[in-house]
Every structure is written in C-alpha cells, then in structure tokens.
Symmetry: C2
Subunit: 226 residues, 2 copies
DNA sequence: GCAAAAGTGTTCAATGTACACCCATGC
DNA sequence: GCATGGGTGTACATTGAACACTTTTGC
C-alpha cells in the first residue's frame, strides 16, 4: 500500500508566554502566499530524519532561539482544504516559554515579515485554520493546568506566590482567591521556600519560592473562582 | 515550501468493546510483510479527499461494518523508523463499539489473514509500535471515563446498573463499590429509569436504565476503588 | 428454603469555598 | 502616616470512602 499519493506534513507550535501580566502567543506575519501578510502560528515541515517532537523543537529553536522548553503534542488537523492548493496535515504542539529567555530568530530568508507576541484575548485574523488550533491549544493548556504544575514553565527560577497566582489567572482568564490559592499550592508540596525576598518593589518585600525539582507529575486539581 | 520530500500518513484505530465481561480490542493478523502474521491495530492510508476523522470512520467501517460509533483522536506517532522501509506517520484514534453490532468485514483482499477480538490484559506481540499506541489509547480512555459518560457507548440501549458498573470496572481494571457507584452515577442525572426489568436471569430481576439523550458532555469525575 | 444477584443509607474524612484583617515597606 | 501589596485562619458545604443487611426471584 506504500506508494499511493500522499500529503505534506507539518508541525505548528502554539507558543505561550506571560508578558506584562497577560497571556500572549507568538505569531509570525507571513511574507508570501497563501495568506500573505496574515499572522500565523509558527510551523514547518517535518524532515524525514526527525520525529515529530524533534521537528517541533527545531521549529521552536529557529523562531525563538530557546531550547529545553515545555512542549506537548495537542492534536492533528487534517481537513482536506485547510491549506489552499495542497493537502497539508499538521501536528500541533503547545510550548511554554519565559519571555525573557526569548531572542527572536533572525527571520533569515524564512519568508516572514515580522514575528511578535500577541495577547491571547485580542488576536488579529489568523491564516489557515490557525484560530481553531489556537483555541484548542488554550483549552488543553487550561485543562492541563488543573492537574499538573506547568505554570512554572512560564516563570523565572525564583518567583513570588503572587506572580504564580497571576500566571494561573492569566491562563484561566479568571480571578482566584488569594488565601485559597496559597493554601492549595503550598499543600501540593512542590514549592521550595527561600529565605530571600523581592527588593525592587516599593512595597512590602515578598518571599521567593522555586519549584521543587523532584516533584511529581499528576497531582490533584487546582483552584476555583472566588 | 510545498514540494519537499514527504511522508505517508495513516490512521490507526484502537477499537474497544466489552465481551464476556472483559475489555477487548480488535486486532487484525497481517497477511504480508512487514510483520507478516503479526497482529496489528487496524489502520489504513488517508485519502486526499477525506479528513482524518472520515478516514478513521471509513477504516472502521471496512473492518467492522459499523457506523455511528464513538470515535476520538488520541495522538500522532511519527518516529522515523516506526514503519520499516518507509516514513509513515500515523494518527491514532479510539473507537468504542457494542460487540453485538459488529459483523466482521469480509477481509476482502485486504491482505488480512484473520480479524479477532483480544482481551486487553492478555495480548499477543503486536506489529510496529502498536503496543505503545494501544497502551496510550487505554490510558486516555480511562482518563476520559473519569469525566465523561462514554461507557454507554459500549452497552445496549437499555442496561442494568450492574452491567454499567461492570463496564467501568473492565475499563479501569479495578473493582468499584456498588453503593457508591450507584449513588454517583444516579446523581449525575444522565440516566433514565425504565419500568422494565430483566427476565432471563434466574435471579432477582434488575431494573433497566437508558442514557438520557440530551445529557451533557463534561460532568464531574467518577469513582474510586473501594 | 436456599442460592444468587438486586437494591438501599449512614458515618467519617478530606477537600473546596467564602470571607477580612494586620504587616512591612517606600515615600 | 499613608498607600500598597504581602501575608494569614476559620467556618461551612460538598464530595469521597468505607461498610452490611434485606429483597426478590428461580430452582
């Protein structure tokens, strides 16, 4: 059966970060047809020598110069006409990065006009079916947040509990109760308390925490609205 | 970028049923290389005219003659050498069917030697990476069972609470407490009570229930071990 | 009348949710 | 001394978990 007419296969990566206290996603502005000038989720073709995750990592590195990030496969989209003029099936991934880690890739001949962060709750029109991909990625990210401490992937090594809470709130797009949040997150036993405090602020210094390295996947759920 | 060397794309479908009170999976015995004579998850190439779910439905129909079944995409596998001699990426699906609904497809020239049910907890060696696909499918099925009433897909229109409980137990591979199970499942409000009872049995007749059509996706979790 | 599966409630523990005030600092 | 964000505890409601006996039928 090998040998029948086939398809192109790409990976598309929904890259989230927290910037200015809001959840943002990395988009590239296309430099060519189809969808010239439209914004799109970064993606690329899969090489014969690499597996899907390696392809995703490569694309991520090309666009952002970051490695070692949280990366998870989400869903595969394959409507016959999702890509005008060709049959392209795309395997989508979610990545979480710290926005300070990022150095925008030189859009070196990649046929990209711009690359930029966009607030998730205020997006331009997107190319292809990228709006659906992004919605689904966000949905999965939220579900994941309920039972796995992925929010740490978006924060610096050391952070305050308020920063952590703001991260949860940005992803869930809902406010959380401060006392309940702290009680819960501390009870998970995945935080290491430091004897250091923030200084920069003009208010009372906040204690710094970090993520316990040997912590476990698959804890119990988190949070509710107030 | 269209036009670079590409890949084959298939769908593979992990088809579960309950038979003889145990969770079983449909496997085909391959009639040709690679992995001639090995058992494998049913699958097939995606046609240019169909989307991924349509391809999965078609393969399912070819092998089982059933339509209108529960079908859900699980994960996409794409290790470069998972398929000897070619680069084949496969999009995997889970399907749930009632084993009475099934009429085995005439293995019409499909290069299949046999097609048969196998107990999930006692499987032969499988072709390709199909063992991994199956494990992952089972894991996802279990997770899904916790917050969505998919078990109904495996039962006849009308069923007893004990049958429903046995279905849960088969999937989770663990015994559940009868009273807690009934309390929980009834509290979900997705069951319709009928004034009919089983007769065949030589014991006390059991009340029949059915699944409320207008019930909702996404309920709260279910069950624990006793 | 007995074997076998159906059916039914209560207690306790753990978790989730709502809610308000004092503390430490910079200015 | 005051404005700002940091930090803390309790009461109540909901959910989960453990557990044993009576009922109905066929034989």
């Amino acid at each position: 059966m090998i040998g029948q007419k086939t398809h192109e296969v790409t990976v598309d990566i929904v890259i989230f970060t927290i910037r200015n206290g809001s959840l943002e996603v990395l988009l590239v502005q296309r430099g060519h047809e189809p969808f010239k000038d439209r914004w799109a989720i970064p993606g690329g073709f899969i090489r014969l020598s690499e597996n899907l995750e390696e392809a995703a990592k490569r694309v991520l590195y090309e666009k952002t110069n970051v490695k070692d990030v949280y990366l998870e496969q989400i869903y595969t989209f394959g409507e016959p006409h999702r890509y005008p003029g060709a049959r392209v099936i795309t395997v989508s991934y979610v990545a979480l990065i710290r926005s300070d880690d990022l150095v925008f890739g030189s859009a070196e001949g990649l046929n990209i006009r711009q690359i930029n962060w966009h607030p998730v709750y205020d997006l331009p029109n997107l190319a292809f079916d990228h709006r659906s991909i992004l919605s689904y990625a966000l949905k999965r990210l939220r579900a994941r947040l309920e039972y796995t401490p992925i929010a740490f992937q978006l924060l610096p090594k050391k952070f305050t509990l308020t920063e952590l809470q703001r991260t949860y709130e940005s992803i869930l797009n809902q406010e959380l109760d401060k006392r309940n949040f702290r009680k819960k997150i501390v009870s998970l036993g995945i935080l290491k308390e430091h004897d250091e405090y923030t200084k920069e602020s003009s208010k009372r210094p906040a204690r710094l925490y970090s993520f316990h390295e040997h912590s476990i996947e698959g804890r119990k759920g988190l949070m509710s609205a107030q």
